[in-house]
């Protein structure tokens, strides 16, 4: 090919709750399950610690997709945190869609500490989805682009 | 004046001295090892830490110091905390000088000076004290009344003890707010001490310190017979541009960064009481 196009590798931010999903990611690692290295995990004490601003700021700083992982509903370490997170994220994602921003760039998954395989599969699937969407253009901050 | 007023120069912090628990003095030179610019006593400079912010600080060193500039800075906000955390060799940005400075070439000539300072208020007046000491033939005697919360909070204590107190041309009166072990000097607030010392009313007064000290000291001076036209102070307001344009240091028709920070009290009477 005369002009080789560099393959697009999306930057993914994954907010993972300390008690389930972060442990799930650990398990995926110890079981040697692979998922793309472009997923950057940010550990949070609970999925409900994630303010809508965190999601937006991740996009501002160059993320192409943002995923939030927490304990399964009913299993929250703090009893009810993920129920609140669920409502918040539903409304936020709906609003992003309303503004015409690709809804597939955001996702919530419930991953328990025992679900290493699910964690890896989720990340692989999410990365594939975002790769297909291409670079985040609609929620980018031009100043943060190199 | 610098034609690119808003673009700073790089300054290198060569030495940092811990003065008191919350005040440090920073020596700054340019990249070439020389002073970044010349200034007049009482003028200020904009120091900044890129990414943190910019702040206006009075230049503590005297213009007669030809090697470097000094800034005595108290830790109280974002930029100052960052400055306090840094190590020698760190580069910062600097622009200036800003403001009018003290009238050392006009009103102060030949006069006996009385400097009243409280706490970090010594920072801007140290410049004028040392300038007048270095040019003592042009000025009369210098009396300094300086107070702070405690002995440990006296800024530039070493210089005061070693140099100022040994200067035949100077009288230094120190005071601290509360009794303290190892302190045999005066104890009490500055305004009261001023009244006790009963300085000669022919002196020209330079005052800088917390607003409450200024308020009561001024009242005390008036009781002693001083006139407002004899008393100078230097102001602090929020500043962003330093060149009289951004609007926030505006008091009446004056811009503190450009028309100030040094004002005579009779000039301040003509301004709205908004400082």
């Amino acid at each position: 090919m005369p002009n080789e196009v560099k393959a697009f590798k999306p930057k993914i931010v994954a907010f993972c709750c300390n008690w389930c999903s972060y442990a799930g990611a650990d398990l995926a690692g110890t079981n040697r399950l692979t998922y793309p290295a472009d997923v950057k995990i940010i550990r949070v004490p609970c999925s409900c610690r994630v303010n809508p601003m965190f999601i937006l700021r991740a996009f501002q700083r160059g993320a192409d997709g943002v995923i939030l992982c927490g304990c399964h509903p009913g299993d929250c370490h703090y009893t009810t945190g993920n129920y609140y997170a669920r409502r918040r994220m539903t409304l936020l994602f709906s609003m992003l869609d309303f503004l015409g921003i690709e809804k597939e760039r955001t996702r919530v998954e419930w991953v328990s500490a025992a679900e290493g395989a699910k964690f890896a599969a989720t990340m692989n699937d999410f990365v594939a989805t975002v790769t297909a969407l291409g670079e985040n253009k609609r929620l980018e901050d031009l100043r943060c682009k190199e | 004046m610098n034609t690119e007023a808003l673009i700073p120069k790089i300054g290198v912090v060569t030495k940092i001295t811990q003065e008191t628990p919350d005040v440090k003095t920073f020596q700054v030179v340019g990249l070439d090892g020389k002073k970044v610019f010349e200034h007049k006593p009482g003028q200020c400079a904009m120091l900044s830490v890129p990414g943190v912010g910019e702040g206006m600080f009075s230049i503590t060193s005297s213009p007669t110091n030809k090697e470097y500039m000094e800034f005595s800075i108290k830790k109280c906000g974002c930029v100052t905390s960052w400055l306090h955390a840094m190590e020698p060799g760190q580069q910062i940005t600097i622009r200036g000088p800003y403001g009018n400075g003290f009238p050392v070439d006009t009103d102060f000539l030949g006069k006996d000076l009385l400097v009243i300072a409280g706490g970090i208020g010594l920072a801007p007046v140290r410049s004028v004290i040392n300038y007048c000491r270095d040019n003592h033939e042009k000025y009369g005697s210098i009396q300094v009344i300086y107070g702070s919360r405690s002995k440990d909070d006296l800024v530039k204590y070493k210089e005061i003890i070693d140099e100022w107190e040994n200067d035949p041309n100077m009288i230094v009166n120190l005071t601290i707010d509360r009794e303290q072990e190892g302190w045999d000097g005066h104890v009490g607030f500055v305004p009261n001490y001023v009244k006790e010392l009963n300085p000669d009313t022919s002196k020209t007064v330079i005052m800088c310190g917390p607003p409450v000290m200024i308020k009561f000291s001024l009242a005390g001076l008036k009781e002693l017979g001083f006139k407002e036209t004899q008393v100078y102070t230097t102001f602090e307001l929020r500043m962003k541009c330093g060149i009289g344009k951004c609007g926030r240091c505006n008091i009446g028709n004056k811009y503190v960064c450009k028309d100030g920070p040094v004002f005579r009290f009779d000039q301040m009477d003509e301004l709205p009481n908004e400082y």
């Binding site: 937006l56 409502r87 015409g100 031009l142 | -």
Partner: protein, 323 residues
């Protein structure tokens, strides 16, 4: 109506029920009306007005006013009473220090609305049945009141007062407002069309913060956008991202608490239809978590501080085409 209100206010001042009256003050051109506090009967006679241009929702001023000494009389239109209840729910107003007089509202207009109809040089406005007769330096024009109404009044949700100590006039009913029609229309567009629509609107924003400062739900002592420690304090949107972020977060912070009073859109100097963002949240909440009207009652739990175990999953967003 105005006369009745002034008389009642005077009575209440005289008998000591209240020591201040919060109402509207006349301006230069009939339509430029300013909220004001009146302390004496003379002041009421001089400046108090109530007419079709008194759009300001007075309930937010009560946050500040109830911190002062004495009881204040406030005139609230039906939609203002929802904001009032919401503020009570959030403990922002001392109910003991307010005397609420509910007043009817036939919908409000504004100088800006008249001007958007091409009317300029206004020297006087009078009401004639269903019409406004507008005198201008260029001659007289007549405009149907219905056409001049603010967007929020064209889709008025309720003529019913949900809070009052006394009413002047008859109370109305909750209306079938069709207020979500425009939201539904946007939802039916393609994402590209929506994106283009909102970029066009939000890029007009000058970040004056009027929408935030006027909002009766925005009563934080320090807004996240003013807090230097929040990392997103901004005075101006230096990038399109910041325009989007400000408006998403502004709407999100009042989601579930917004009573849809429409002040945000009324005050926007750039005429950005900000209420559509709020209504999107309200519509989603209604559809996903059951109907909820913020401020309808005091003490209800807002949808975002509530949950049920079988709430829908966020993935519903992927499957709701045209919602």
């Amino acid at each position: 109506m105005q006369g009745m209100m002034i008389n009642r206010a005077k009575e209440l001042l005289r008998d000591g029920t209240v020591n201040r009256v919060l109402g509207w003050q006349a301006g230069e051109f009939v339509y430029d009306i300013t909220p004001a506090v009146f302390e004496t009967e003379e002041e009421l006679d001089e400046g108090f007005v109530y007419n079709g241009f008194c759009g300001n929702n007075l309930s937010k001023y009560l946050v500040k006013e109830t911190l002062k000494e004495g009881k204040i009389l406030v005139f609230l239109k039906p939609c203002d009473t929802y904001s009032f209840n919401q503020l009570l729910t959030e403990h922002r107003i001392d109910r003991e220090k307010v005397y609420v007089v509910g007043i009817p509202c036939e919908g409000k207009t504004s100088g800006e609305m008249l001007k958007s109809k091409g009317i300029s040089g206004i020297t006087g406005i009078s009401e004639d049945g269903d019409n406004f007769i507008v005198d201008t330096v260029y001659g007289q024009t007549t405009i149907a009141k219905a056409d001049a109404l603010e967007e929020r009044c064209k889709t008025c949700k309720s003529k019913k007062h949900v809070a009052y100590d006394e009413l002047i006039g008859e109370d109305g009913e909750v209306l079938d407002s069709h207020r979500f029609d425009m939201v539904a229309k946007l939802e039916a567009m393609t994402p590209d069309e929506r994106f283009a629509f909102w970029r066009g609107q939000l890029s007009k924003c000058i970040r004056c913060n009027a929408c935030r400062n006027v909002c009766p739900a925005c009563t934080c002592e320090q807004c996240v956008f003013d807090n230097p420690k929040s990392g997103i304090a901004q005075k101006a949107a230096a990038d399109s991202f910041e325009e989007n972020m400000f408006h998403i977060i502004r709407a999100f912070h009042v989601a579930g608490r917004c009573t849809d009073c429409g002040e945000c859109s009324r005050v926007c100097p750039q005429n950005i239809p900000l209420h559509l963002l709020n209504r999107k949240f309200i519509k989603d909440i209604d559809e996903l978590y059951g109907d909820y009207q913020a401020g309808a009652e005091v003490g209800t739990r807002a949808p975002l501080t509530n949950y049920t175990q079988d709430d829908v999953e966020p993935s519903i967003v992927y499957h709701r085409e045209g919602k």
